[in-house]
Symmetry: none
Subunit: 212 residues, 4 copies
């Protein structure tokens, strides 16, 4: 019993070690230019070993998204559980949570956005794909629950809360991708934070009922 558990824990630790290494390399070189050997070197393991823990490169790549999605959920649930009564403040808290997620690991988050609607998705183990779907769903539902409250209170306009959550998520990913893109192309300053700020402000005004 104890032995089995320890093995389990060690296996999990090894997985983490590889993911940390992968994250570093993917962040530096981008997905397609990263080789399994790069990752193996970074993890101080041999290429073959990676395959003991991950089915293939895509799977390893996608696994990274899981972690950030998990972190997102934690932060979102925290916002929900804080039980802030003022819906405006809740939106603020939501914004902060999302920005934290971005700052937690910008590259991985961007990679995850790229993962969306790319061929990579089709090569994943059903199991992994399910996990991603499940986590995405929970994130969106958690977000939606915030809006649901506000709608029920008559504070927000009456729209499908899931649709609103989709829009927030879209806006969030859109701003990050676009601002990062501009930063790279034009070698300009990083406007992610300020643009997100404005975007959320407009969004909040947009869903808040006019209290005559």
């Amino acid at each position: 019993m104890g032995i089995k558990e320890r093995k389990e824990r060690e296996k999990e630790r090894r997985r983490q070690q590889i993911m940390v290494a992968a994250k570093r390399v993917f962040s530096t070189k981008g997905f397609s230019k990263t080789t399994m050997e790069d990752i193996a070197k970074e993890a101080e393991l041999s290429p073959g070993t990676l395959y003991l823990y991950f089915k293939n490169k895509d799977e390893l790549y996608a696994s990274l998204s899981l972690r950030i999605l998990q972190y997102l959920i934690i932060r979102l649930e925290h916002v929900v559980n804080e039980k802030i009564s003022d819906p405006g403040k809740r939106i603020q808290a939501l914004k902060e949570a999302m920005f934290d997620v971005y700052e937690f690991d910008p590259m991985i988050l961007i990679n995850m956005f790229h993962l969306q609607s790319s061929d990579t998705l089709k090569n994943l183990t059903p199991k992994l794909l399910d996990q991603i779907k499940e986590l995405s769903k929970r994130s969106l539902e958690t977000m939606a629950s915030i809006f649901e409250d506000g709608i029920r209170n008559g504070y927000f306009i009456d729209k499908n809360p899931v649709a609103i959550a989709d829009i927030v998520w879209s806006m969030f990913s859109g701003v990050i991708l676009w601002e990062t893109s501009k930063k790279i192309i034009n070698k300009q300053k990083d406007y992610v934070k300020s643009t997100l700020e404005t975007a959320f402000e407009i969004f909040e005004r947009g869903i808040t009922r006019n209290t005559a």
Copy 2:
């Protein structure tokens, strides 16, 4: 002379022929899994011929974006030139223009969004990169000019019009990427149109001054 012009036209037609083929294949197989030979076969040409018209795979890929950006600009400038006085109606027109662009060629638009902030950008001919930058800039500026008017009239809230344009663009790309992603993952219905609809509605509310 007639001869020169005809050659010119034929050359352009060939380019188009290749781009059409490329579009089809990229859409089906995704960028990284598409080989130049695939495209050549689709275009009923030999692989070598592609290189007479496009420097390399990346360049061919990116060229597809140019066309849609050009179409976007045409539509946006049309909105500006229509001289609609009601800012709310202008936002509606903007929304319709963007949705038209999406419908013009969804896959290519999505590919273009993917192009943003990917390594591919770094491999392009400076010339092509400049073209893309230039077209992007013009699109955004055109959009911004719409908001500028509304702000000057006191109809929209006082935010940097370029930042607002960035947000609209982000929202647009974010919604399309995310809804497409959901569609693929969950094999569900296509909500792009309805989500864009709601997003624009919220956005409009968000930037419109409360007229007490």
Copy 3:
């Protein structure tokens, strides 16, 4: 009659035009890195036209050797015909002739040396190969005749004159290849001339009988 001749002449002029262009490009980029298109551009012709005058790239390349061999023969025969009686002076004249040939076009001469014993030779038209053989033979024989005289006079040691000619030729090509090589590798000064000078001096001493 006149027409035919003019055509002939024009054809020959075109050949020369191509060879001049080819020489320039081969000299700059080296044989394997030179493309037929490079040469066509330099000659202000289209690639296809080159094939009207030369069977293929190898053939064009080898043709260049013909010209320099012809020039060599002219110079050598001149030395023979000058009827210098002093064999020592004839060796000096020989040396000068060869150095002139080197200076006439170093790159082409070097390329010709490379041509020797390489695969290129095997791809040539029998006709061209015969021409090269013939010219080489004549060069060597001309050289040999110089030594023959000296041997007959008892001025030179009694060795097969053809063998001596082979040695002079080998020494000549060896020095040029090796000094050029050193120049490239070590980016050092050009010692071709001074080394040839010394080599000929030693050679002359070596074949001259000790006149007790």
Copy 4:
């Protein structure tokens, strides 16, 4: 440890195995017509494996030269160390050493001569290029030291010993290239040995002071 050493040895053996195969194929087909796949097949390995041991085709090719240069140095140093007092006999020993090197592997030696002053040199790893330069330098210096002795003793004429060494090397390579060339073109007998014999004889006479 034993294991590490064995691995080391096996790795070296693999390198040798590849070089032997490469030598065979290069000799048969010539450098440019030899493909990496040819070599891989000859070595009974896969193409990819070659790249584990050699950076690229040029590098593999050039590596072959290293071995023969090393052999040359060994033979030359042996001549120097024999401490033969008679300079004439030393020249004989030198000649024999060089002829041995030729016989050790004629094709590779010829390839090495071709390598000199060809574009291939420019594509090599700096490291490999340095090795070649270093070995060449040592060979020439060792040769030069033989002449230096003779000059100091007043036995040889007073010329820069390094220049003399260059001339010997040039003569050696020149004779081999030229005789091989003649052999191929005219399908005649192999005169390398006898021509080298005569060349050295003339050379010896040429640098030896007349002892009145």
